[in-house]
């Protein structure tokens, strides 16, 4: 057999049979309560809301909706734990508790991965290989810092901030919980954490682990709910520090809400990262970087490489390679081990993405979608690429938070840098070139907190993460991620 049309055909006779990860070992309860003071307790209002599997649209469980009274209970539990136990423990002992969490997470990794994929829609390949191992690694990394933090700040003595209120998003539910909880505890703080309303289950399973690890009651409190619950945390006067990951819009509201007090905050907000491909790049690896940049986690990534800037001399070549690569992406059942792109996290987010697909076309951009099949039920979006766009297009300016790539071309290095920086955001950026000197020049010119050179969307507990400009304030991860949770004296 041979090809005579000069194109590649990925519609092969040999395909991959379904390879679903078993969910038998995951026990999901019908109803989850709030985790306050080491116990699961019912919300005072008696209200519960549903969390659904976005791949099937079926309800997984009912979850308690925390009111401001419940938040107040959680804060009081955290304060009591802070003053009576946690801040008085030797740092080495705090570290040991955190190590325990890391270990139990590793032991129960499969269970967490399946639950994460069921509740949030992300492919099991990612929850298994990225989210859960990284979450465990975060606890492991910061556990070791607990009795060493003074060495991180030359000339200073450190002490904990107190009670931290932490609000996390739905795109990396357990991983974001780990990013928040691990450094807070290591530095001697206690926490009140609110997971996102569409993805609360792994945080609640984490609560069980924390109880198993025998942490003093109240050191970690987990309250579920939507925006009102988050607002109750932000507004609570006895919280010393707010850590928020989410949209720039909500970040702004939080910054304003905290303006009248000296409570500290860190914000990890939106992004619209440029992924810059120069003509001297390793093109096949660059294409892989584009794929990882925008289709990782359905594009529900604040640091996603959602703007592709490709040098004109290789633009056609790169796009052709990209389309061939997209032809092999598998969209579907998040629990199938071969799925590359899972379900969009919620109906609301799917509507947002679809709105942008409309806008992109209305503004005259050319839309290309991979021809893959998608299931009938559930929330799905095919990997999408817009070409023929410019800086003035909304799909270039605004964060879509979906598997949607806007492709622009440039001619010179300076033009690439100017376009990359022509945004209010500054979270991340990608640079692809085989020339080392150019990497250092351009990476220093891109105004963003994380720059991936010849790679994209890499994360590590030791690697600080956070934004310039409207992408946020403060860093999480690494040595620099300690500072938000410490007072320096």
């Amino acid at each position: 057999m041979s090809n005579d049309n000069g194109e590649l055909d990925f519609n092969t006779d040999w395909t991959y049979s379904p390879a679903p990860e078993s969910s038998e070992h995951v026990k999901i309860r019908d109803r989850y309560d709030l985790f306050i003071g080491g116990e699961f307790t019912a919300p005072e209002s008696g209200k519960y809301f549903a969390t659904v599997n976005p791949a099937t649209e079926e309800q997984l469980a009912e979850v308690a909706e925390a009111s401001s009274e419940d938040v107040d209970r959680a804060v009081r539990a955290a304060r009591k734990a802070y003053e009576q136990h946690w801040s008085r423990l030797p740092a080495v002992t705090r570290g040991k508790y955190i190590y325990r969490i890391a270990r139990v997470l590793q032991e129960r990794a499969r269970e967490f991965a399946v639950l994460e994929s069921m509740d949030g829609g992300k492919p099991i390949r990612e929850s298994r290989d990225v989210d859960i191992p990284l979450a465990a690694a975060h606890f492991f990394y910061y556990a070791g810092w607990a009795d060493k933090v003074d060495y991180a700040f030359p000339g200073r003595k450190t002490r904990p901030v107190g009670v931290a209120g932490q609000i996390i998003p739905w795109n990396f539910p357990l991983l974001m919980a780990a990013w928040k909880i691990a450094p807070a505890l290591a530095c001697g703080n206690t926490v009140v954490l609110k997971p996102a309303e569409t993805t609360p289950l792994t945080a609640l399973l984490l609560a069980e682990i924390i109880r198993e690890a025998d942490l003093p009651p109240g050191v970690v409190n987990i309250v579920t709910g939507a925006g009102a619950t988050g607002a109750a945390i932000v507004d609570h006067p006895d919280i010393d520090k707010i850590a928020f990951t989410g949209s720039t819009e909500v970040g702004r509201i939080i910054q304003k809400a905290l303006a009248g007090s000296d409570r500290r905050y860190t914000l990890e907000l939106g992004g619209k990262a440029a992924n810059i491909i120069f003509e001297d790049a390793a093109l096949d690896q660059a294409v892989e970087g584009i794929i990882n940049g925008i289709f990782f986690n359905q594009g529900h990534v604040c640091c996603a490489g959602s703007r592709l800037l490709v040098q004109e001399s290789v633009a056609d070549d790169v796009l052709a390679r990209l389309k061939d690569r997209m032809a092999t992406l598998i969209v579907g059942d998040p629990l199938d081990k071969n799925t590359d792109i899972g379900a969009i996290n919620s109906r609301a987010q799917l509507e947002t993405i679809n709105k942008y697909l409309e806008i992109g076309q209305q503004e005259g951009a050319a839309m290309y979608q991979a021809s893959c099949a998608v299931p009938e039920r559930g929330y799905w979006c095919r990997p999408t690429v817009f070409t023929g766009v410019s800086q003035s297009h909304r799909i270039v300016q605004e964060e879509i938070f979906g598997p949607v790539l806007a492709v622009q071309t440039f001619r010179t290095v300076d033009e690439a840098v100017a376009k990359a920086n022509n945004t209010p955001y500054g979270l991340s950026g990608g640079i692809w070139t085989d020339k080392g000197a150019k990497i250092f020049k351009v990476s220093s010119q891109v105004r963003a907190g994380v720059v991936w050179a010849n790679t994209f969307n890499k994360f590590d507990p030791g690697s600080p993460f956070g934004g310039y400009k409207e992408s946020g304030v403060g860093r999480e991860g690494g040595l620099h991620g300690l500072q938000p949770y410490l007072e320096l004296a």
């Binding site: 910054q255 990497i439 400009k469 690494g478």
Partner: protein
């Protein structure tokens, strides 16, 4: 401070025209001798924007009186448009200044110290006129000089203290280093009008930021004169822009400006702090509040003052053949 305040009159009222001949550095006496006494040349205090010394575009002034209540100077009462121009100048200067080598920035800061040392008497005189005792004035100027030297020395060192090479588990070389936040607005303190400015300005520019500073409203002359030192010290135009004016009037424009990346507020007025923080949220501006009661100790003499207006950038590189 309380004593100082007694000696110093409040700034003049809004829109008050400059007195034509009421400005003096000495109490005036009638010359009775046959030889006429030399008439002093009085100083015009102006703004410092983009390396130029313009008057305020608004034409508005406010009056400063000396320790005896005698008129001392007419200060430009900078408007929002003056501020806007200053931000334009600071933004334009940012690319060059932030890319200047740490060594060069250190050299330039040291040069500023040298220039100030050479003009020490002028500043002592100005601070004295503003109500400081001579020893206090001398001490403040000397500490300001020393502070410049201190931060000149940090220019090529803070990066080594605050950067990190991060051992990631994949095959990547990963490092984090500091980069300047961008355009920083500095609301300088009233206490120690020269040292307070220098203590907050030096770390910001040592770190590669460009700055728009508002001098002490109460005691602005020495701070405004400091622009002359900067101007003669190889500091590129636009790296530091100095305004004089009414703090309360300008704050909202400072905090709301969408092309300002950070705001350093020196003071402790809760209303002003809340206002600044609220408006700053519109572009997620970094707000640094420094409510120190003194600028003459290690609370302000430390490299964390540089780190306050820095961003941490983390870069990943593959390690392969």
């Amino acid at each position: 401070m309380a004593n100082d305040e007694k000696l110093i009159a409040r700034a003049g009222r809004q829109g008050e025209p400059a007195a034509t001949s009421g400005v003096s550095q000495k109490p005036r006496k009638l010359a009775v001798a046959s030889e006429p006494e030399r008439v002093g040349v009085l100083k015009t205090y102006k703004l410092y924007i983009g390396g130029n010394f313009p008057r305020t575009e608004s034409g508005r002034f406010f009056k400063i009186v000396d320790r005896k209540g005698e008129p001392l100077a007419n200060m430009c009462r900078a408007s929002r448009k003056d501020f806007r121009e200053a931000v334009v100048a600071a933004r334009a200067a940012f690319a060059g200044w932030s890319a200047a080598s740490a060594y060069l920035r250190g050299q330039i800061l040291y040069r500023v110290a040298e220039m100030l040392e050479g003009r020490k008497e002028q500043f002592v005189t100005e601070l004295f006129a503003l109500g400081a005792t001579r020893p206090a004035a001398q001490g403040e100027v000397e500490e300001a000089i020393d502070r410049l030297v201190y931060f000149a020395g940090w220019c090529d060192k803070y990066q080594q203290v605050f950067s990190s090479v991060n051992p990631v588990s994949s095959s990547h070389f990963n490092f984090s280093m500091l980069e300047p936040t961008g355009v920083v607005v500095l609301v300088a303190p009233d206490k120690h009008p020269l040292l307070g400015l220098v203590a907050n300005l030096a770390p910001a520019i040592a770190g590669g930021n460009t700055v728009v500073a508002l001098a002490s409203e109460q005691l602005p002359t020495a701070a405004v004169s400091f622009a002359e030192v900067l101007h003669s010290s190889d500091v590129p135009a636009g790296v530091v822009n100095l305004l004089s004016g009414y703090r309360q009037e300008l704050l909202e424009h400072f905090a709301a400006h969408m092309d300002v990346n950070a705001l350093v507020y020196c003071g402790s007025d809760p209303g002003q702090i809340q206002q600044v923080r609220t408006l700053a949220a519109d572009n997620i501006k970094r707000v640094i509040v420094r409510g120190l009661s003194s600028w003459n100790d290690d609370d302000s003499r430390n490299p964390y003052f540089i780190a306050d207006t820095q961003e941490v950038k983390t870069t990943w590189h593959p390690v392969g053949r």
